[in-house]
């Protein structure tokens, strides 16, 4: 039975030999691993993650995964909702693939035992979600991501060819003759660096929401996967598109699912007015009977932007954590809240001291998701041979300028599998093994860089200090609405921070589970990603989807119906290039979320 071989020569780095290495063991990484194990039982699969798989941030996703199964729905509807929701920046051939594969993937997950919520007759239930014309969001109460993650993790345990390397932090990709040939990773518990030889590498490292101070994202979302590819020469695409989720808790930033609104919850300002109707999402719909794609079921970018506008007018309530709006779910009743939104109720009570059954909950937009990421084609392949990517860290692009809720969990499954198949095909096509000398040299250099950081003395900067400055400038200058002055300031600040990063001295210079080192490396990833975000935003002189500029308020299809590509530079700022969007069936139109359009 194939097993990743371990070799060790005195004085050299321990090496793991695999066929495919997967970096990241969340929804996408686990799905890819399972797909590979099923496709070819002879493949040696190394599944590498900086946390144990069940800690991956997939577990925090709440609302559900979209897939067409009900008779009144169609693939065309899902396609059109997604492309329109993405403000026509989605590659339509990729979206076609997504909507087609979605139902199969969700049924496969059900066959693996995912506890989807059900209709009375036993078939899978679906719920309404923002920006979707029809109900197609499969859900498991309000812990859909949690159940998907655990189902995938538990299913993966039956494949002995998936060998896991839990709590290994990947530091660099190894290249040979323009091909990806493996990576180096630090075994957290011992601090020892290991080399992983793999002719195909799939990055599923997640997003980078932690570059902002208020985010639904957990500690681990620091863009390490994105940075790995970026530094290896793969461009980061559409990084300027950062999604704000309208309903995060003001105290912790953690997420109250969009399903709150899907089940009928409404958003009001301090005067009790459902203000979304003043921003093109009206007319006001009856309480508790939401109408798809309007009012509170409008897309996330529009709802978050409406908050910002209302806030400017002074209509938000004031809390000790800043301004907020109210999410009112009282009319849903205790029974429905307990059945469909139990986690939401628990979190509101625990962290805000508010019971949604009896009181409206203060919420505000917080950073949630990055539409941008590692540039891949619709087969999940990056321009670097042997390197593939899937999930939030990748940008295919199926989400375009704004992601619809519940498309992301589906994306993990569809493109996790797609990346695996592409990797398997790549291997079968005769990908050559890399030379030992190239791998050893690359690994040695990678180790040298970490050693330099660990042994550095006389440094004046701290991880926490630089991180705080980064988050501050992103919040101030690269938030929901952006200006030229703000973005220029952000770019300059981030360039400065990247320089000052070289002057960090660690407080902890020991080897065993050194989280000072870990956070320093994560900060490096974040600074690189943040700079890509700011520079891409500065270059895009239009407003589209989640990228809104006060100085360029209109969408400009002539100049900017294109993806931005940010190319890494180790010394100076990334250079930005552009790539046309693939348009097939749907020509750019007007995003109309008012109720009058049926």
């Amino acid at each position: 039975m194939p097993h990743c071989g371990l070799s060790f020569t005195i004085g050299s780095m321990e090496t793991v030999k695999a066929d495919v290495a997967i970096i990241g063991a969340g929804g996408a990484g686990l799905r890819a691993a399972i797909a590979l194990a099923q496709a070819d039982p002879k493949l040696r699969i190394a599944l590498i993650s900086k946390v144990y798989p069940m800690r991956s941030h997939t577990c925090a996703a709440e609302g559900g995964a979209a897939g067409v199964i009900k008779p009144d729905d169609s693939l065309d509807h899902h396609f059109n909702d997604t492309v329109g929701g993405g403000d026509w920046l989605c590659d339509q051939d990729a979206v076609d693939y997504l909507v087609q594969e979605a139902p199969k993937e969700l049924i496969q997950l059900e066959h693996w035992g995912c506890p989807w919520s059900r209709e009375p007759n036993g078939s899978v239930a679906v719920r309404p979600f923002g920006g979707m014309k029809k109900q197609r969001t499969w859900f498991a109460a309000d812990k859909s991501g949690f159940h998907i993650l655990h189902t995938l993790f538990q299913t993966s345990l039956q494949f002995p060819t998936i060998q896991r390397f839990d709590e290994y932090y990947a530091t660099e990709l190894l290249l040979d003759e323009g091909r990806c040939a493996g990576l180096t990773a630090i075994e957290m518990r011992s601090g020892q660096m290991r080399r992983f030889d793999a002719r195909a590498v799939i990055i599923c490292g997640g997003g980078a929401g932690r570059i902002f101070p208020f985010t639904t994202n957990g500690a681990i979302k620091t863009g390490d996967g994105m940075a790995l590819a970026y530094r290896a020469g793969v461009p980061l695409k559409d990084m300027e598109f950062v999604q704000y989720h309208p309903t995060g808790l003001p105290s912790t930033g953690t997420l109250l699912t969009e399903a709150c609104r899907g089940e009928g919850g409404v958003l009001v300002n301090k005067h009790g007015r459902r203000f979304l109707q003043d921003y093109g999402m009206g007319p006001e719909t009856p309480l508790g009977r939401p109408v798809l794609k309007t009012m509170e079921l409008g897309p996330r970018d529009r709802v978050s932007q409406a908050f910002w506008q209302e806030q400017k007018k002074g209509n938000m309530i004031s809390t000790q954590w800043g301004d907020a709006m109210l999410l009112d779910m009282r009319h849903l009743g205790e029974a429905k809240i307990n059945e469909r939104l139990p986690l939401v109720r628990d979190m509101s009570i625990s962290y805000m001291g508010v019971d949604p059954v009896t009181d409206p909950v203060p919420v505000r937009p917080v950073v949630h998701y990055m539409m941008g990421g590692i540039h891949t084609d619709k087969r999940a392949a990056t321009p670097l041979p042997g390197l593939f990517a899937a999930g939030e860290c990748a940008c295919v692009s199926i989400n375009g300028a704004n992601r619809l809720g519940s498309n992301s969990l589906t994306e993990l499954l569809v493109f996790g599998r797609r990346a695996a198949l592409s990797a398997a095909e790549y291997l079968q096509s005769g990908a050559r093994a890399a030379s030992e000398s190239a791998l050893a040299a690359g690994a040695s250099a990678a180790q040298g860089r970490v050693r330099e950081l660990m042994q550095r003395t006389g440094g004046k900067e701290t991880v926490a200090g630089l991180r705080k400055e980064m988050m501050h400038t992103m919040e101030q200058n690269a938030g929901i609405y952006r200006t030229n002055e703000g973005l220029v300031e952000a770019c300059a600040k981030l360039a400065d921070l990247r320089q000052r990063y070289r002057a960090i001295e660690l407080h902890d210079k020991t080897n065993v589970y050194n989280t000072d080192l870990l956070q320093a490396l994560e900060l490096g990833s974040m600074l690189d990603c943040a700079e890509a975000v700011a520079q891409s935003a500065l270059a895009r002189k239009e407003s589209r989807g989640a990228h809104q500029r006060l100085d360029f308020v209109e969408r400009d299809d002539r100049s900017f119906l294109r993806h931005s590509l940010a190319y890494f530079d180790s010394v100076s700022s990334p250079r930005i290039e552009y790539l046309d969007v693939v348009i097939t069936k749907s020509q750019p139109g007007v995003r109309d979320y008012s109720g009058g359009h049926e």
Partner: protein
């Protein structure tokens, strides 16, 4: 917005310093609505960056931040400072070896989860890929509670049997096996029996019930274990006294 000066004692251990585990005290200005995790983050950011611990989601769903808070197994992200008016003592989760500071070695737990075959073992030939298995809300309700385990290991820290007999497979692993046994789509109970009905399986449990007390997700592992005991017993008797039933 009120603040409070909080005294926190944390068990420190770094194998490379040669010191044995010892307590280090910090005095931190905290906001009143903070949890212990917020206080630890504040310590790490402003006082002592060498403090190591696991955390991620800050919403009690990833299971990373289990630790002992004043002697009780808790999630640091759900331990509210307002519930601890005096000194707060934080230690790594009990019954697991300490790697470094508040980080434990959880290899044993992860291995045990895998041993109960925690995946769907279909009843007959797998369903053709055209539709989902039917499962009524009542069938879902039967096992739903046992799917909520976030693998935080608070139950292992609370269980004296696991502390005294490390070979015991433990509450979360048994609950996970039971979750699959009770899923109407699954047909693998016989295959899980070997692990669950072993001496180191359910029969090591003497129903202390501490596991269910400390579970932050109300999974009720103690209930799962007793239910497995009853089912295993019935299975054993039917297998040995009425073998004709097992065809």
């Amino acid at each position: 917005m009120s603040e409070r000066q909080v005294e926190i004692e944390v068990l420190r251990y770094n194998p490379e310093t040669g010191q044995e585990p010892h307590f280090q005290r910090y005095s931190v200005k905290c906001r009143e609505e903070w949890v212990v995790l917020d206080a630890l983050n504040h310590i790490k950011e402003t006082i002592d960056p060498t403090l190591s611990y696991r955390w991620s989601c800050h919403m009690a769903v990833c299971g990373s931040c289990g630790m002992m808070v004043n002697g009780e197994p808790k999630l640091a992200c759900k331990s509210f400072l307002r519930d601890y008016p005096g000194l707060i003592r934080v230690e790594p989760l009990r019954h697991f070896p300490v790697e470094r500071d508040l980080v434990t070695v959880i290899d044993d737990f992860v291995a045990k989860l895998a041993r109960v075959k925690p995946y769907l073992i279909p009843k007959g030939a797998p369903e053709a890929a055209t539709g989902e298995y039917q499962q009524t809300p009542a069938q879902l309700k039967r096992y739903k509670q046992f799917t909520l385990c976030i693998n935080c290991m608070l139950c292992y820290a609370a269980c004296p049997e696991y502390g005294l007999i490390p070979k015991y497979i433990g509450p979360a692993a048994i609950t996970l096996g039971h979750r699959w046994n009770e899923d109407s789509r699954d047909g693998g109970r016989a295959q899980r029996q070997e692990e669950l009905a072993a001496t180191e399986g359910v029969w090591e449990c003497s129903f202390v019930g501490a596991c269910s007390d400390v579970c932050p997700e109300h999974v009720d592992p103690a209930a799962a274990i007793q239910q497995v005991k009853i089912k295993s017993t019935i299975d054993w008797y039917t297998e040995h006294l009425m073998p004709w039933l097992n065809k």
